[in-house]
């Protein structure tokens, strides 16, 4: 067994990669920046990570179920412009609720397309990505909408208990709730079964379609919440706000260890991934690294983590088998593959 020690060390490092990453950011940050390790910095990192964090949280159950949702960015944009656009008509709080409702509605459209029409989630949400990105540009004539009540959203980013802001507290609470559902309830655990092998789960009496549909409702809700929070905090509804957030959100989820192959993942790990990514970004920014260079670090980090993960795992399945098992009734393999 001694020969395997290097491999075991690597595996342990990958297993605790979030911890390694967070400690590394903390050490490098405190060496290069004065007063980096303070509650203030933590508060600001968490607050700024909230929007991407909600998107990443919403993606987590979708990925656990072995699906993907590319439309979350468009959902965010739609929810944002709905909220700001409706503020003068129906008041601040109802407008915010309407934003979330729009998110859930788009999520339910995704769910219907994937579950009822049997279109794979990659293609389905690519289409809804295009449709709702286009619709939000149409509704706003490609111009950002300004809020008539700019002060309403300011308290969202105010101080709460020294380390939170109201909106980042919502994010953490949502992550914990999602964790409790996934980890401690039978229905949450069933979701992992659906993601590992949907036909087998169906044969075992789990209503796979229902679970898959639910995950799209969750990602719609989270995308809606992210859009409402972002638009209220900035007092602006931008039709292109979500376009740039899809990639950071997927990165955060993957850094947390949730797999695109389905059947594995955790919302607390996603919370950690969001924090690690936010911490890294903030540290680089404090060091004066331009934002386009940060993309290099983020990308390299993503590639290294996923490569290590692949190298130390004994899983020799081809990676792209993922997303192909979108059909949930028991079928022959040959039929399954045609179902794109």
């Amino acid at each position: 067994m001694k020969r395997l020690d290097g491999r075991r060390v690597a595996r342990t490092a990958v297993q605790y990669r979030l911890l390694v990453l967070l400690v590394a950011v903390a050490i490098v940050g405190s060496v290069t920046i004065d007063d980096f390790l303070t509650f203030d910095t933590f508060q600001s990192i968490l607050n700024r990570a909230t929007v991407v964090g909600f998107l990443a949280l919403g993606l987590t159950p979708v990925l656990i179920a072995g699906q993907i949702d590319l439309s979350i960015g468009s959902i965010l944009s739609m929810a944002g412009i709905t909220t700001i656009g409706l503020q003068p008509l129906i008041g601040n709080v109802p407008a915010a609720l309407a934003g979330v409702v729009v998110g859930v509605l788009i999520g339910s459209i995704n769910a219907v397309i994937v579950v009822a029409f049997k279109i794979s989630s990659l293609v389905a949400t690519l289409a809804t990505l295009l449709i709702f990105a286009s619709l939000s540009l149409l509704l706003t004539n490609s111009q950002p909408v300004s809020s008539p009540d700019a002060v309403f959203g300011i308290p969202l980013t105010g101080d709460l208990l020294g380390i939170f802001t109201p909106r980042s507290a919502m994010f953490v609470v949502a992550a914990v709730l999602l964790f409790v559902w996934l980890r401690f309830t039978p229905s949450g655990r069933n979701l992992y079964a659906v993601g590992s092998n949907a036909p087998a789960a169906t044969s075992a009496g789990i209503r796979s379609n229902g679970y898959i549909a639910t995950t799209f409702l969750i990602s719609g809700f989270s995308g809606g919440a992210a859009g409402v929070l972002q638009s209220l905090s900035t007092a602006t509804g931008s039709p292109v706000a979500g376009a740039v957030l899809l990639i950071p959100a997927i990165t955060a989820v993957v850094i947390g260890g949730t797999r695109l192959e389905g059947g594995r993942g955790s919302s607390l790990a996603t919370l950690g991934g969001v924090l690690a990514l936010g911490g890294l970004t903030t540290m680089l920014e404090f060091n004066g690294v331009p934002s386009y260079t940060q993309a290099i670090y983020t990308g390299v980090l993503l590639i290294i983590l996923i490569t290590l993960d692949r190298l130390v795992s004994n899983d020799s399945r081809p990676a792209s088998r993922t997303l192909r098992r979108e059909r949930v009734e028991p079928t022959t393999p040959r039929e399954t593959r045609r179902n794109a």
Binding site: L130, L138, T251, A295, I296, A319, S320, R337, R338, N339
Partner: protein, 324 residues
């Protein structure tokens, strides 16, 4: 392997009939609608223009067909490789001349494709994650190369050539047609193409049949990198300037064209000719939207809806055929 030549169906079910006639039918329908909507639609300058404007992204779609066919899902690093091709082509002109710079641009973008190929083919990383990562890195590098600004090219014989026409058909369109004419038989007639289809159809079975599965999968991404680079080189030369955002959104347009053409994103079936059809359809839709006076922002709405309908009908017929 009967599915590989989907254009020549063995049996005649509604599904195979649909899959055979849908693309020509859609093109004819779009042309008919166009002729009805606007008198300027069915004129040579307009049609040439439509093709010219979409030839660049069409090149990317040709490469993306291989990625889809071999089960590689999609290459999301396309915008980065397009940007690299364009920026290097213009930025290196001082140092190595226009021809050398264009070659260098192609080379750099192909190198991006090689990295994707190594990660996906040999390390077997999920293609979506791998190309997200490499795309993010390469786009960052390209922005750093020029400090986040814009690069201007110098007038050159090569740039003039790219902007010119032969037989009143622009060079862009010629290049697209030539590349499509090379790649169509490459996928449907050669051993290399059969490997792509076999790997996408059943990875384990292909591996057991001594198909070089890793090489095959990697090469699809190298091809896409090369074609994205070619797209970038041509755009850079014809625009005379380039920014890192030059290829933004091209990955989705290319995937859309592949899907509308009827190639499955999950591998095992598809053809380059179908993607050419998909490119023409998306191009005509964009043109019709402009000519009919609809806001240009609605392009995504219409394209997305068509993707859903095309794939939905296809899935419906296949399920029906499967049951019978």
């Amino acid at each position: 392997m009967s599915e590989t030549t989907a254009l020549v169906p063995r049996t005649s079910t509604p599904g195979t009939l649909f899959s055979r006639v849908s693309i020509p039918l859609a093109i004819v329908a779009l042309v008919a609608i166009g002729a009805f909507i606007s008198p300027s639609f069915l004129t040579a300058p307009n049609l040439v223009n439509v093709l010219n404007a979409n030839a660049a992204v069409g090149l990317v779609a040709l490469g993306m067909t291989f990625v889809a066919v071999c089960g590689g899902l999609a290459d999301l690093s396309v915008p980065a490789n397009v940007a690299m091709g364009a920026l290097v082509t213009l930025g290196a002109q001082h140092a190595v001349g226009p021809f050398g710079a264009a070659l260098l641009g192609l080379l750099v973008a192909t190198a991006g494709g090689v990295i994707n190929g190594l990660l996906i083919g040999y390390l077997r990383i999920n293609p979506i994650i791998a190309t997200l990562g490499t795309g993010s890195v390469l786009l960052g590098v390209s922005q750093q190369l020029i400090g986040g600004g814009i690069v201007y090219g110098e007038p050159s014989a090569l740039a003039d050539f790219v902007k010119s026409s032969i037989l009143s058909i622009p060079i862009f369109v010629w290049i697209f047609v030539i590349v499509a004419a090379i790649f169509t038989p490459l996928l449907s007639r050669t051993a290399f193409g059969r490997w792509q289809l076999a790997v996408g159809g059943n990875y384990q079975a292909a591996e057991a049949s001594a198909v070089p599965v890793r090489f095959t999968k990697a090469s699809a991404f190298v091809l896409t990198g090369l074609l994205a680079g070619l797209c970038g080189v041509l755009l850079g030369l014809s625009n005379g300037q380039a920014r890192p955002i030059v290829g933004t959104g091209y990955e989705f347009v290319a995937i859309t064209a592949v899907v509308i053409g009827g190639t499955s994103l999950f591998g095992g079936s598809g053809s380059v000719l179908r993607t050419v059809g998909g490119v023409v359809i998306t191009a005509l839709i964009g043109n019709l939207i402009i000519l009919s006076g609809l806001p240009t922002q609605s392009t995504g709405l219409v394209t997305g809806a068509i993707v859903l309908v095309a794939v939905g009908v296809d899935v419906y017929f296949r399920r029906k055929a499967g049951r019978e």
